[in-house]
Symmetry: D2
């Protein structure tokens, strides 16, 4: 079976292993481990791509991809959100502990268009992290040890700035020489059920898949010269994905309810079912051309949920970065 490209390493691994999940991926160069937090219905999956075979199979560079999944992200469940903040902060601290940060700042880049609600995740995170780079010298002694230099920028999207995001980021990295970049991005889900329920953390930066045809330049260690962490959340489905999933449901419904006599000579039905997923998706994308990219499918409560997601991610970054002071002090410092 051919796979459909997805930004989530977890979805890719599920496709490759036929969806069984489990810790044995069965793929050379791909290791998977799963932890469940049952109190708050949180599942943490770590996918490690360790060699060339793994890279080829997954269509992604080697590195660590950590997925935190929970239906509680979508509801205003303060306790579950706190638990997720704690998990994400820990994982982020683990991924970055090897990076020598002394002397260099952490630069948070919030990708996306702040005027399109489901794409505003990155810019919202930027507005909620505790920036300190500009005040490190004037900090009182007792705080200087606890706070690390952090700065943040939401560079906008090329459609509204006329500038490649990577151009803005590179210029900035050359000027301020941070030790680490953390990029936040809203993704398009390949499954409706993932929308707003999944956070992916990866230490490989952002390298759009070759097959996607997206000429957006990469933001990764290779292009920027420093480590790049990516945090992504699927917040929309594009209309083609939605129609594709809906048609699959429709066909499976029809095949169950259609009398044998009709199915009998139903070569057309067979053909539909035998169409490779990728081909079917491509046909649908093609048919919907005027709408793909211009219209999107999103839940009604997207505004509120993006706010919670931004809160979760910004708090995690604050905790993992300013590790010498309490969370209460971080919050107090925000104003």
């Amino acid at each position: 079976m051919q796979n459909i490209y997805t930004d989530l390493a977890l979805e890719m691994a599920e496709q490759l292993s036929g969806g069984q999940g489990g810790s044995d991926s069965g793929i050379d160069g791909v290791e998977i481990s799963v932890e469940n937090n049952e109190v708050h219905d949180i599942k943490v999956t770590v996918v490690q791509i360790t060699n060339d075979a793994g890279e080829a199979a997954m269509g992604k560079p080697r590195g660590n991809y950590i997925t935190i999944e929970s239906p509680e992200i979508m509801v205003n469940n303060v306790e579950a959100h706190e638990e997720i903040i704690s998990i994400l902060a820990n994982k982020l601290a683990e991924l970055t502990k090897g990076i020598k940060k002394s002397g260099g700042s952490t630069l948070v880049i919030g990708l996306g268009n702040r005027d399109v609600t489901p794409d505003a995740l990155g810019p919202k995170v930027v507005s909620k992290v505790l920036v300190t780079r500009h005040i490190m010298e004037s900090l009182p002694q007792e705080l200087a040890g606890g706070l690390a230099p952090l700065c943040a920028l939401a560079p906008g999207v090329m459609g509204t700035t006329g500038i490649e995001t990577a151009e803005v980021v590179r210029g900035l990295v050359e000027h301020i020489k941070p030790a680490l970049v953390i990029c936040i991005d809203a993704l398009a889900a390949r499954k409706i059920s993932r929308i707003n329920q999944t956070i992916q953390l990866a230490d490989t930066g952002i390298s759009p898949g070759a097959g996607v045809g997206n000429k957006r330049m990469s933001l990764n260690q290779q292009s920027l010269g420093i480590p790049v962490i990516a945090i992504g959340v699927p917040t929309v489905t594009d209309v083609a994905t939605f129609v594709n999933d809906a048609m699959d449901l429709f066909l499976s419904e029809m095949s169950e309810s259609t009398p044998e006599s009709l199915q009998d000579g139903a070569k057309f039905f067979d053909m539909l079912q035998k169409l490779e997923d990728r081909d079917k998706y491509a046909i649908i994308r093609n048919i919907l051309q005027p709408y793909v990219g211009n219209m999107f499918v999103t839940p009604k409560e997207i505004g509120e949920v993006v706010g919670w997601l931004a809160n979760i991610i910004a708090n995690s970054i604050n905790i993992a970065t300013h590790e010498g002071i309490s969370r209460e002090d971080i919050n107090r410092f925000m104003y």
Copy 2:
């Protein structure tokens, strides 16, 4: 052919007449006339339902339904918007000129949920009309003649207030005894191509179609005791409509590109094509049940377009209501 219920009288008439359009509807009790403004690509259609047969065929009460269509509504074309304002203001003045307004206010009701961008049209119009009812007594002499008493309320939606909109409106109408109610509402389009391109003005109020199962109480002369004008614009498609339209495109594409040999015994294909529109739509709605009502399809630039639509409608109401003063003075009065 069975028809699918739609809020737009124009769409209903098109279905009944097989889409030929033209001024001869061919339906007893339904008269149609069309005007084109070619400079700004604006089409105005007046559908009049004049007798019981027309009501039955159209599934709508007798009265006047005026549709203004233009692709220019979706772009920031100031001149075309001005032209549409002028047309809508005229039509509104015509529909209301018979109503004896002396002594009574015009009450504008902005239906919809202001926190969901494409549903915020009504509340946005409310915030842009020139309300005067509370200052009529303190107006300077030279303005008192030009301004008419106008008030406005956006009562919210039942899902967020716990109160039927009609309950709020009735209570208010009993208290302040207006002469006329104008309701503004965002609609769901049955065709993707209508989204944000069509404004419907009707003198029949809002009476949800029997078949829709929407138990929202009516806002019309019968329920409120005074004339009710409705202005509606389709700003979204529900996901079922979108998938339905996409599947039709898909099937028609496949039937052209599928070799004869496959189509030959394609009873299933035949069956799909022969499914009544209403049945197919019902099946899709059913399959997509968890998403219908919770997700919607909308253009990326919806925020900006709803702003323009609110501007067009509010200006038209201001001009038609405060007919004794210039538009410049109306604008100046807004602060």
Copy 3:
């Protein structure tokens, strides 16, 4: 000394008692008790007006006025906010426990203009309470016991609707016959230092002080026929108050730094200092006439703080109203 009218009973009591505070108000018919929560720097003051003398002295109707003060309200301190929610929910439950709610709804009215950030507190609370009145009949058995019928409306302000808020509320109360009304309102502080740091809860409804000249009709038991609880927070200072406070600071600064020789014959200076507060304020208001009511003074971070305040108040109302289910379930129910 004459007092300046203020919406906060606490400020009025402080003025009357010369600012000493303490539990002995020294005023006939006014009893004051204070509790401090030192962990989160929260001070709770209960002012009870118990007889005619108290009403006359305070310029407010008899009843209970509970003030919760904390600088932590202004910062993103989740733990302190949780503590304040708990205190406010308890006090609200105490004030309403005598009201027989069986069969009748709680109606939350969010006063204020949602388009003016510091005035948007009431409308924001309305969007965050858990409304249930419309679904009470369809609730599953296990929830029906825990949830009470609640509905909510943000009626807008007269300047943008042309309708007295009290007219909308009365019409609604007559129609839906609630058992209790809770009004939320943003107030103007008389002291800059109170802005966004004080929540007042009172069981006397909203009855604008006679001296203020505000002809807005009352929302109280007398006018609506049912108990009315008011929750208010000062979120702005009007420019006259700000200038008044600033001039006092200026004069006191000048009197300290001005050489004796200049002060000696400074009858003018004496006169300034001897001006009754109320007179000085009136002069300033008069001088600033074109700006009073059209301009306001507010902290830069007002948008964020109003969000936190709405969160605190809405959660308190949810907990006090839906007392049979856990807070986690309340949150889960919001979508």
Copy 4:
């Protein structure tokens, strides 16, 4: 008389010339010309600083400072706004016609904090200019001649990014090598009456006055190596200015209404009146220290007015930049 620093060259010239106005500035090296458009109550003043003496007197670098003033900016007067767009576009075209733009882009920089309504002017302009730099190569032949390459960035403010704005801009200028930078900024007015009524256009970039103590690095030809145009609008008054103006009004009111007998020995009063403006302002700033920078004074309708201002400025930039195509086509291109 010593002057108080102001961002507006016009205010500085008024101070120097004792407020008489008129075209003869009476200052060496400063030339002033005034045009009035009486239809829409628009006044255009051109201040030219032509030599060292002018620079010293005005505290500003030599160059052209064009001020467009109109009370109509504050109200929704479409016709007056169109007239102002036309004037501003013409002046901008004049200032930039000498700059050889072939091959190089225009880079629009929207300064300010988009989350603080009156400071959001710059970011709002960025979202309304027609960016083309990224699509110049794929434009159809007939448009390629009319559209010029334009790009735009809103870099945020140091308080929320931790990065000097000038650092971001310099990095970007080095990377994309534009031919011209246009900076948009919201200013603080020194007179309440200027708020939202004045647009200043200058070809000297942004060079904070030496006396202000603002260490923000300059954005001008010297620092960036290319011409820098600045467009600024005062949208707030800081609280110190407001109190200062209010106290002047108060003192003048008091001196008129105070009996001779009190004024007689009023050395203190004399002293107050003789305080240099700059000293009085400094004292007030000092007294109000905790509030200056954290609180601001602004009109209630600031949200709406900033929207109109952004519209005026963005349209002017679009017209002056994309001079080969009609304004209607520019608008159509926005989506």
